[in-house]
Every structure is written in C-alpha cells, then in structure tokens.
C-alpha cells in the first residue's frame, strides 16, 4: 500500500538548509533518512521542495487567471518535501513518519495514496 509522507518544516528548519553552521546536520539527517528508506526497500519516490518564498500560486476563478507570489497557505510550518513509500499498512507508515527529521521539529503528515481511478469501460 502506498502512502505519502508530507514533510512540514518550521522557518528555522528551512533556514538550516543554507546556514553554514547547521546545514551539515540538516542534510546529514535527511540523507540518512532517505538511505534508511531505500535500504529497507520501501522508498517509491519523493522530492525536497525549494522554500515557500519561491512559490507562486495559481487560481482561475470564473475563467480569469490569477497568479500570486508565495505558497497557498501561510502557516507556521511549511511543506518542505515529500516521500512516497510502499508499506503493508498505516502502522508501518506512521513508524517511518516518526523517523522523519521534521517530525521532531515540525511535523510529518501521513496520507494514504488513492488507488488509480477506475478506467472507463
């Protein structure tokens, strides 16, 4: 069963990515976490995301395009990346989410991936 772990990071964690004093620890933790997922054979895919200030949000209300700078939601914790994993059940998915470095500082949200929609007959 596939699940997505959404990696929510605090401002401070996002800043750690480029902070000369903290970036080794930051990247080391994610490199190790990704390696553990791969070595356990549960990793399907994923990506880290550039920080929210690089985001642009598009809406097309009533056919009119509107583009805004910034992320869709302005919250304390921001989406910093995601992992797609394949594990037997939700319990196992939560176990992996608890090991995600962001779980200790921000959050790691777990959602079951939907199965592909039925093909039209």
């Amino acid at each position: 069963m596939q699940f997505t772990i959404l990696v929510y990071e605090t401002q401070s964690e996002l800043a750690a990515r480029t902070d000369p004093k903290r970036k080794d620890a930051y990247w080391g933790a994610y490199r190790a976490y990704t390696k553990a997922l791969r070595d356990a054979g549960v990793m399907v895919g994923g990506a880290g995301l550039e920080p929210p200030r690089t985001a642009a949000t598009v809406r097309v209300p009533e056919g009119k395009r509107r583009v805004q700078d910034g992320p869709f939601a302005d919250t304390k914790e921001q989406l910093g990346g995601y992992y797609v994993i394949d594990v037997p059940d939700l319990d196992k998915a939560l176990e992996w989410a608890a090991r995600c470095p962001s779980a200790a500082t921000g959050a790691a949200e777990v959602r079951p991936n939907m199965p592909p929609p039925p093909t039209p007959a």
């Binding site: 080794d24 190790a32 390696k35 356990a40 319990d91 939560l94 176990e95 090991r99 200790a104």
Partner: protein, 408 residues
C-alpha cells in the same frame, strides 16, 4: 479548572481502574462499565459545581454509574441478557455503595485484558484504558497508531470480550503459570513505550512508565509468590533509576556506558535489588529476572566503578535461551564485544537474519560503533547513516551524527 472539575478529575484518576473493575466484574461487560462511568463523570461535572463536591466522590461516581447500568438493563430488549441483568440489578441495589472493587477484581481485569483470545497487540492498550483510565488518543500516541484506529481497536476488543463471554476471574493456580506471562508482557510493553520518551518531552507519553511500574507493584502485591512478576518490577525499577542520567544538562543523549552514576537514583536501585533478591529465593529464573539481573550488574558500576562484562555476557546467554528476541541478541552482541572484543561482537551481529534487523535501529547503531573501533571507516559511516535514518529522537540522532563525523 474549577474546584469541582478538579475534584472530579482527581476522583477519576485515583479510582477509575477500581471502579471499572468493580462494575465490569459484575456486569461482565467492559464497554458498558466504561460508558456508565463516563456518564457518571459527566454528571459529576454538572452536579458538583452546584451541589458541592460529595464527601466520598468515589462512592458517588459508583452509585451514578450503577444507576446508568441498571437503567440501561431495564431498556434492554434481549431477553437472555436481561435475565442475567435482572439478578444483577437486585444485587447492585443491595450492595454497599462504599464498597468498591476488591484487589482481586482489579487483578481479574488485568487477566481479562491479557486473555489468550484477545489479540496480542490490543492487550496493553486495553489494560491502559480499562485499568488506568488513559484515553485512546494518549494510548495511540504511545504506540504510534492513528487515534481513530486505536479507538476502533479498543471498541472491537471490548465487543469481543462480551461476545466470547471471557470470564472476569483470576485463573486457578494451575492455570496461572500460563496466563501470567501475557499480563507481564503487556505491563512491560506499557513501560517500554513510556521509556522511549526519555526526556519526558512528550506530555502525552509522560507518566506512562510510572503507570506501568504502578501496575507492576499491584501484581506483586496481589501475587507475591510469582518470581517473574517480581523480576519484571525489579527490571522496571532499575531502568527507572537511570532515567535522570540519560540526558546531560544540555539535553544531549548520554549512552549507558558514559552515564554519570551520581545521577542514578540510589533508592530505586536499592528497591530493585531487594525485589530481585526476593524473586531469587524461589529459585525459578525466567526472562524478566534475567533481564533484571543484567540491569543489576550494570548498576554495580555505581559501587565498584567498573562493569563486569563477562558476567553480563553470560546472563545474556541465559536470556537468549528463554527469550531469543532481536533486542536481546543485539544487546548480547554488545556485551560480547565489551567482554571479548569488537570482532567477536560483530560476528554475533553478522549471524542475525537480515530481515529481522533491516529497520532495527539499535542493530545499526551498535554495528557502526563496532566498525569504528575496528577502523573500518567507510563501513562504519554507512552503518551510522542507517542508524541515523532509523532514529526517532532528535537527541539520539544528533549523538550518532557527531560520532559519525568523528570517524578518522
């Protein structure tokens, strides 16, 4: 919180398990007993601020809960159930209100929670909820399960108790030997999930270790002649004694071998030693006594300044004979490495099945440490990465990353 609300909560915390045990033992239905007690607590919160807190809050709650159960039975349509309930209603109305669950009833509830018909994974959560009154969300956090899932599991398991007609009684002495281990396992699992919250940083898990020790004391008080129950209590007390030493003042993780023994609790160690000595008089060693003996050997460092690794390795050999768990095998490898050198410890690790250790963090942490000692830098870094990636706690992650960076 108002005074009345505080009094209700205090009464609930202090007597929840006893009241549920008492009601469930008579009504043979954990779910209904809990519902009735829940209603009684709600009624208390409504009534007490107006009418004042009663002299005996526990008796008040019991009376209110019984009334709910009796009312519920009057409305029940199932004839068979109603017949039994009718007899109960008579008894409930004549019972002395002040008299709540005897110790035997609480022990019976523990045995119900660990009944062989109940799914192993549900036993500890059920015990925490019915005997200690913890809520499903808190239990879910401790066992890393989605709260909704935990809620459903608990509801299902209580329905099963009712449908399977699992009896509320302490087993006969002959049967006890078979039925006690799952009770002890469930208590130990509760302690384990509290233990991992080293720093006490997670308010949802704080106190779970203390609750488990409380249950351990309860079992030894009610069954004083069971050496394994004593062994479990001694084991938990030894672990608890070292809690203050597991973090330094800055909150950084400190491994056992580097802990400052001055921070160990002498009184808890003394108590653990005396409980273990009582267990030893029965001359019937088992898994928990051996684990407690291993912790006891570690505790000697506080007196002698040294650790007898040969003795510890020997105790692990005994432990592996009766409980060959992955955790025990990794710990045995660590003891072997200390006693006979890193190469010997690594050989033990190499002998473990890859599937069993793929996601087992302690295996990779020990492997990394032994490879470092042996000067195999690249393999050590690889193993450290695995261990770091499998770690939940930030402090432990930091500790491992520092060790990995220190490899020359």
């Amino acid at each position: 919180m108002s005074e009345a609300a505080a009094a209700a909560e205090l009464a609930a915390r202090a007597s929840y398990g006893r009241l549920v045990a008492h009601l469930a033992a008579r009504w043979r239905d954990v779910a209904r007993a809990e519902d009735a007690l829940g209603d009684a607590l709600v009624a208390a919160l409504e009534t007490w601020p107006r009418a004042g807190v009663p002299d005996k809050p526990e008796a008040w709650l019991l009376t209110a809960a019984r009334r709910r159960l009796v009312d519920g039975a009057r409305h029940a349509h199932v004839a068979v159930a109603a017949e039994a309930d009718l007899a109960l209603m008579l008894r409930e109305q004549t019972d002395d209100v002040g008299q709540t669950a005897s110790s035997d009833e609480r022990l019976a509830l523990l045995f119900v929670c660990a009944h062989p018909d109940i799914d192993e994974a549900a036993r500890t959560p059920l015990m925490l909820q019915t005997v200690l009154g913890l809520d499903a969300a808190r239990i879910a956090s401790a066992f890393l399960v989605a709260p909704a899932t935990m809620g459903q599991r608990l509801v299902r398991v209580k329905a099963k108790i009712r449908e399977a007609g699992i009896r509320f009684e302490v087993p006969e002495h002959r049967e006890m030997a078979a039925r006690l281990p799952p009770v002890l396992d469930a208590i130990y699992a509760a302690y384990g999930s509290g233990w991992e919250d080293v720093a006490g940083a997670d308010p949802r898990r704080r106190g779970l270790a203390e609750e488990a020790i409380w249950l351990g004391r309860l079992v030894t008080r009610l069954l004083p002649d069971e050496p394994e129950a004593l062994g479990l209590l001694a084991l938990m007390l030894h672990c608890e004694a070292r809690r203050p030493a597991r973090r330094d003042d800055g909150g950084a993780y400190v491994p056992l071998s580097e802990q400052d023994v001055a921070r160990w609790s002498r009184s808890l160690i003394d108590e653990a030693e005396s409980v273990l000595a009582t267990a030893a008089r029965f001359a019937a060693p088992g898994r928990f006594q051996l684990e407690a003996a291993i912790q006891s050997a570690h505790a000697q460092r506080a007196r002698t300044g040294a650790t007898d690794w040969e003795a510890i390795a020997l105790l692990y050999k005994g432990l592996l004979r009766c409980a060959p768990t992955v955790g025990a095998r990794v710990a045995a490898a660590a003891a072997r490495a200390e006693a006979r050198g890193a190469e010997a410890g690594l050989r033990t690790l190499d002998g473990m099945p890859p599937d069993a250790v793929r996601t087992y963090q302690p295996y990779w942490a020990l492997r990394a440490q032994l490879l470092t000692t042996l000067g195999r830098a690249n393999h050590a870094r690889d193993a450290f990465d695995r261990a770091i990636g499998l770690t939940e706690e930030a402090a432990v992650r930091e500790f491992l990353m520092t060790r990995s960076a220190d490899i020359r």
